[in-house]
């Protein structure tokens, strides 16, 4: 609610900035006066706006009350808000008005309203009021926020209530979060609270939590929170002592987020000592989160004997944009599977230059087709020209790959040019199938124009 309220004001402020020159209506003049912090002038303009434009009268009333509050004239503001509620009870501005009132009224009154809920406040509005009160009177507001966390039927309200605790400076709020993280009956609230403790760098609380929690998901959340807090010592302990693969996986990702030489070295030693394929796979995945792990990925590729993990290491190099290393690997590795994986990795890393280079020398039709498809996936503008130029001298398999690449690039004109050159009925059919499978308005338009011209 608070965010929504603030956002609405930001949007209005932005609109104001862009319409300064054009301001003509009383409503616009009122907004201009607000921007200039000329509160009473704004109140006057909004008064005119209420009379002048029925469609905007509710908004003008709310803004007039805002101007009064800013001018320190609370009673007039309150009167204006009451008028708005009375005259436009169904307006969306009524909720804004209630929020405005809460923002400016005596905290005692807010506490009474929220605690008693006698003034028809919905949960969202109660939470807005409580967010205001957490700073002024946390001792009284906290139980009410916790009541919403524990008892609201709305997931959205429960999570927002946790956020209210998180942004409070009160030590009681931090303790309440730790309590929720430890023993909330609502798993989503518990995990959210744990993650928030991570953003608050509450490493002491998280470490003691990890020791007491039994639930696997909650423990994973603690590991993630420790990672958010940058607490690697505990993550290393998890890796040293835990056997649960999911907990180890979470810790591996946490270590990778550290992204330094020490974390790379630790992951390397875990990879070397691990006999678990899934764990090795997790480490390879985690390397993609690090900036300087190319050397480690290459080392794993050289020493790994499992072909599938080798392939995944090559993919990781592609994700890391290790184009130079992939080019060198292509020259040094001679088995077809590895070379195919490298071509795919080059495509992942958008390395069209590497693919062109390989197409100049590679003789294997199957690998050439993979490289051609990679060019299509990368979708460089010059790739289409290159593929059209190579088409006449290409093998049957390569031609199919060119057709698929042209489809991926949605190059209708290029495909039609190839269609004109081709005499093989099967390849013509492939081209037509690709032309008609493209879900592009531009492509359809082109085809329709050709049909109309030639039909």
């Amino acid at each position: 609610m608070k965010m929504k309220h603030i956002l609405k004001k930001i949007v209005l402020a932005t609109l104001l900035a862009s319409t300064v020159v054009m301001a003509q209506t009383p409503y616009d003049e009122g907004q201009k006066a607000l921007r200039e912090q000329n509160w009473m002038e704004a109140a006057e303009q909004f008064k005119q706006a209420i009379k002048a434009d029925e469609d905007q009268a509710d908004a003008a009333m709310d803004w007039r009350a805002y101007a009064f509050y800013k001018a320190g004239r609370s009673k007039e503001a309150e009167r204006q808000l009451r008028r708005l509620e009375r005259k436009y009870p169904e307006s969306s501005w009524v909720k804004e008005a209630q929020a405005l009132r809460i923002e400016h009224q005596d905290p005692e009154k807010s506490i009474e309203q929220v605690a008693g809920n006698g003034s028809g406040m919905d949960e969202e509005l109660r939470l807005f009021a409580l967010a205001q009160l957490m700073d002024r009177d946390p001792e009284r507001a906290l139980p009410l926020v916790l009541d919403l966390v524990r008892n609201s039927n709305s997931e959205h309200v429960r999570q927002d209530a946790i956020f209210v605790l998180a942004i409070s400076d009160a030590p009681e709020a931090r303790q309440a979060l730790a309590d929720l993280a430890r023993d909330s009956n609502d798993p989503e609230v518990q995990i959210n609270a744990i993650h928030i403790l991570g953003t608050m760098d509450a490493t002491d609380e998280l470490q003691s939590l990890y020791a007491t929690l039994q639930d696997r998901e909650a423990r994973i959340a603690v590991i993630e929170a420790l990672s958010i807090a940058g607490e690697s010592t505990m993550l290393k302990q998890v890796l040293a002592n835990e056997t649960d693969p999911e907990l180890r996986k979470a810790a591996i990702y946490g270590i990778a987020m550290e992204d330094n030489a020490e974390s790379a070295s630790l992951l390397e030693s875990i990879y070397d000592s691990s006999t678990n394929t899934e764990e090795k796979r997790a480490i390879l995945g985690a390397l993609t989160m690090m900036d300087g792990a190319t050397t480690l990925a290459l080392k794993i590729l050289r020493t790994e004997t499992d072909p599938q993990l080798q392939r995944e290491a090559i993919q990781v190099l592609g994700i890391m944009d290790a184009t130079e290393e992939l080019g060198e690997l292509y020259a040094s590795l001679t088995d077809r599977d590895s070379r195919e994986a490298i071509l795919e990795a080059m495509s992942i890393s958008d390395d069209s230059d590497g693919l062109y280079k390989i197409l100049q020398t590679e003789q294997d039709a199957e690998l050439r087709s993979v490289a051609i498809q990679g060019l299509g996936i990368n979708g460089e503008e010059k790739a289409a020209d290159y593929l059209v130029a190579m088409y006449p001298g290409a093998s049957r398999e390569e031609k199919s790959a060119v057709i698929q690449s042209m489809m991926i690039m949605e190059d209708t004109e290029g495909l039609l040019n190839l269609l004109k050159q081709e005499s093989d009925p099967e390849l013509k059919r492939e081209m037509l199938q690709m032309l008609t499978i493209m879900d592009s308005e531009e492509s359809d338009q082109y085809l329709f124009e050709m049909l109309e011209k030639n039909g």
Binding site: K428, M431, L432, L435, T436, D444, L447, L451, G455
Partner: protein, 246 residues
Amino acid sequence: MKAKVTGMLLALLTGTAWAQVGGLTNAEVLEQTSITDPGKAVQTAQGQWIAFSMPVVEGTRSPCCWHGQWSNSREVGCSLEKQHESYGTSSDSPLTENVIAFARVTEGEVRSLRVVGEQCPVEGGGARVTWIGSVDSAASLNWLEAVARSNDHDSMDYSALYLMSLHASKEASERLYTLAGEPDGELAEEAVFAISQLPGETGTRMLLELAKDEQKPREVRRQALFWLANSDDENAVAALADLLTR
């Protein structure tokens, strides 16, 4: 002898009798061949299902239900009540001159429509089926078009359009062409597919016309192009290639 004559007389008077309906088994069949309009049969249906026989264009293969997929599939026959893994024809399916349509009627409305070849076994599941035999060509077309138009784009309107594509009358293809120009996008798209299933060169010709027609919606023209490009008819593919590159 006397009892047999009495039975025949009764059958003539009431217009009802027991009959064999294609490959249907395990069903209580009531014959009412005095009705030739499926629409009227629906209104007066005494059973859960009505069934009729409809002549189809030459070269039609007998549609049936299949078990398994691709090369492992085998024709097993259909069921009135159960859904099957797959349905249709293969190049090995026998040719048929008629198909049998089964329409489930509830409260005077058609709720389900199944179409099988005369040779396709059909498990009736003990259902009551009113058999009206051969139907009037124009009346059956009117009824099929009405069924296609009246539904919320479930499998039934496709079945109705499919049956229209098999219909022996030349008028059927023209009606499908008209439906392909309807503002109801889904109905139009299904009609384009039904046109692509028309035998001979009629389907190809109509698809080309639809694709070229500037007045037709983009999606209809796209569908027409797609089915031309994926047609089993080599001439359709060649004609499309020629049109695009001339």
